[in-house]
Symmetry: C2
Subunit: 320 residues, 2 copies
């Protein structure tokens, strides 16, 4: 490790690990984590590349927040509670100090929000674009993980929050979509700083039969559940929850069906537990919407308000 | 996630996770790991970048092996037993399919060697060079982790295997050093495919007072131990273990002192346990060499055969 890398770790990463005994002050070769007895450890790992996964002029703070939050969303989809994370920076020489400081500020704020810390971190240099890789660690009681494979015919299909905002926000940022300033701010914020459903995920253990987070788009992610569970589904387009900012916008329904970057939870629950889900939504003050049901026929059908099937030229949801 | 990424995971990564229940077939959002009761989880994370950490014409198989092995070396330095790993590929579009296949072949071979599997994996595209990030997971009995901070004055200083081969191998590869073909093959192999001390590390729990792996160079890594332990050390240059391939080469002693890429374990043991270390070396059929001792004076001194201190213009070991 080059001398500059030690300085980087000391200066930028060590403060992020200050309150984490497992991080050993980032001074040792690895982090040491004491699991809660009777719990399992849940691990997920993602990388983002400048110019591919975030825009050059995205604020550094929100890049950090989104990187952490998409991983927390993966943990939530399994029903896990977040514990901490490890971070690797692959840094181009030209990366401004101010950008790194903004990134670490955003990360510190989110670590406080979610009650977690940095357990391990490293940095390497790269002649390519800034590349960030994060491993998130969570836990849950042994045997309670939510899987994609548990959906059964007759289950209700639910989704948290609202759909399509992230994809619409990206279209506003790239200039493809013009909307009034207030709506623009809401949609851009949803794209840049998604809200992982860290309270909902663990609350669904023992209630949901399957869960996934909506990162690739509702239909694509639902397709993964259907494939893993060997079932089909019907979705009522009119039931899709849209935000006030999205309602009435051109392409809003399409964004809700196929746009990515929502980071809401899509989950299935036996139909006799409908009241329990409604109760949970009230408890968490979180909109939970029943958007369809699981079917035995292995197809994914979306029906319009008139009951007729809507077909889409987009790959990956009509046939999977 | 783009469709090509699913195909990549299905084709290349899923076979690497085939025997790992914790990986859930790479079908879910995260891996779920059941810790051994009474054990702690050890986590380490590294990234490598094409053109920076490996050479463009390094065989893909050995790139995979080195990436995994340097992380296993970090686990060994903590005294941990490896359990599994997570891998992220940031792939340029031009990366040849044959290269990826070679990489996965090398990884599969090493997974078999070390009895571990892939627990989670992902891929993203990048306009920059191939960047690989690996998180290794291990475990050890609670409270038994080897730290850098436990060295005490009077402890013996030990090192496993031989030193300097990795750095000499790199110099052979870059054409800076000409050696007979047989020695060249040995040194290059040591650079490309280091041997992490996965049996030694766990065996040192309860015996060593501090440990680190030699990745940055003996003196730099010893400096980390001395700093963390608030002590100093004396090293006898004549005691440094050199391989038959390295003995007599120009710069061999310097490579042993300051070259990186050895991935041997450097550790401290109370002087009254000398026989136990010798016995352990015999048991593991691994050369373990006493190269000096820990001192109260917070300085790192290297003495030649005549007892006189050797000074070096290199930064980072005379003063730390």
């Amino acid at each position: 490790m080059a001398e500059g890398e030690f300085a980087f770790i000391r200066r930028h990463l060590r403060p992020l690990a200050a309150h984490e005994p497992a991080a050993l002050g980032l001074e040792d070769d690895a982090a040491v984590l004491a699991p809660t007895p009777g719990h399992e450890i849940v691990l997920t790992k993602d990388a983002i590349v400048a110019g591919v996964h975030f825009l050059a002029d995205d604020p550094a703070e929100t890049v950090a927040q989104k990187l952490l939050r998409v991983n927390l969303s993966d943990l939530a989809a399994m029903g896990a509670r977040p514990i901490g994370h490890l971070l690797v920076f692959a840094r181009p020489a030209a990366l401004a100090e101010a950008w790194i400081e903004g990134f670490c500020r955003g990360l510190a704020a989110d670590q406080a929000t979610y009650g977690i810390g940095l357990l391990g971190g490293d940095t390497v240099s790269t002649p390519g674009p800034l590349t960030l890789s994060l491993t998130a660690i969570g836990d849950l009681p042994a045997g309670s993980a939510l899987r994609r494979s548990g959906a059964r015919a007759g289950d209700d299909l639910w989704v948290s929050g609202t759909l399509g905002d992230g994809a619409l926000g990206l279209r506003v940022l790239t200039g493809e979509l013009a909307v009034p300033p207030e709506a623009a701010a809401v949609l851009i914020e949803r794209y840049r700083v998604p809200a992982p459903r860290v309270a909902l995920g663990p609350a669904l253990r023992g209630l949901a039969t399957a869960a996934i987070d909506v990162s690739d788009g509702l239909l694509a992610d639902l397709g993964h559940v259907l494939e893993a569970s060997a079932v089909g589904a019907e979705v009522a387009a009119a039931a899709l929850p849209l935000s006030d900012a999205a309602i009435g916008l051109a392409g809003a329904e399409d964004a809700a069906l196929t746009g990515g970057d929502d980071y809401e939870l899509l989950f299935t629950v036996p139909a006799d537990q409908r009241n329990a889900v409604d109760e949970l939504g009230r408890e968490l003050a979180l909109r939970l919407t029943r958007i369809g049901c699981i079917t035995t026929e292995r197809a994914l059908r979306v029906r319009g308000a008139d009951g007729r099937e809507i077909t889409s030229p987009r790959r990956g949801w009509q046939h999977f």
